[in-house]
Amino acid sequence: MQLPAKDREKLQKMLRIGAEQAASTLNAMLRSPVELSMPEISLLRRHELTKLDIEEGEQTSSIVSLGFKSNLSGTALLVLPQESATRLVEILVGGRSINTAEKVIHIAAITEVGNILLSGLLGAVANELHRNLVYTSTPTYVEDRLLHLLQRDLADPEALLVLAHAQMQTPGLQIQGTAVLLFHEVLF
């Protein structure tokens, strides 16, 4: 199933604006260049989620999610493979390693990074569309596979989803992550 070309272009432009804001913010946090891929847009049902090509590595990812509603309603997610999440936290706490007993530091740091990047992404989209987005909860942190998380949270197997994602990476720091926007309904 395909989105009409006009809607696909609108969504791509929107995510591009949002992802550029997120990448710029990440750049400021890490003081390192951030490369951004062209956003990809998918229109699919729950059982088709396996077709998604999102880099996660071998382990579970650190995933921060932020729900939103308005004319646009859905969830924004930041997906960080574990190695990237660990590296990111080490940089944010001044270069020292975080051991497993300090897991609370890892979770707090990644949750706040997710909050800043996803709020930036969604805020840029809202400003572009002259809309006001309401966040439905504070950011939530989980360690899971993205596919598993999406399949678990999407109750209706027949519901049609619009999913947009763009990859960010900092070649100098070996950190990569994916910004995902999942729209439950899209009304332009």
Binding site: A108, I116, S119
Partner: protein, 121 residues
């Protein structure tokens, strides 16, 4: 030196703000949500409040409204990841002195300058 109340649900963000502000010689008290922050604002009457927007229990906009309803006149600086123009306008209309967007660079003087301006009135 000023007494500054930092209201933010993120422990990580509070720790960052504390480090920046203590280095500048300020005394810091912290609250993890707006409900506790409002109680602390009434009890301690800090010179300035740094207030996050998206928080559990009581969000920053409700907290700001209640601070002004209680006739507390200290300057409030919003420190938020929410970059929506509508959010910024609402905060300023409700009496915030200014809105700063996260992340706050620890090596820049943005935060100290904002606090200095807010305290000058």
């Amino acid at each position: 030196m000023s007494n500054i109340l930092v209201i933010d649900d993120s422990w990580f963000q509070r720790a960052n703000l504390r480090a920046i502000l203590e280095e500048a010689g300020h005394q810091i008290i912290e609250a993890e949500n707006g409900r506790i922050g409002l109680l602390m604002a009434v009890k301690h009457e800090p010179d300035c409040v740094l207030l996050d927007v998206l928080m559990p229990e009581m969000d920053g906009i409700t907290t700001l409204r209640k601070i002004r309803e209680q006739k507390l006149a200290m300057p409030v600086i919003m420190v938020t990841a929410d970059i929506q123009k509508s959010t910024e306008q609402e905060c300023l209309t409700l009496g915030a002195q200014m809105v700063l967007h996260k992340p706050i660079d620890p090596d820049s003087d943005t935060l100290q300058k904002a606090i200095g301006l807010a305290l000058e009135g």
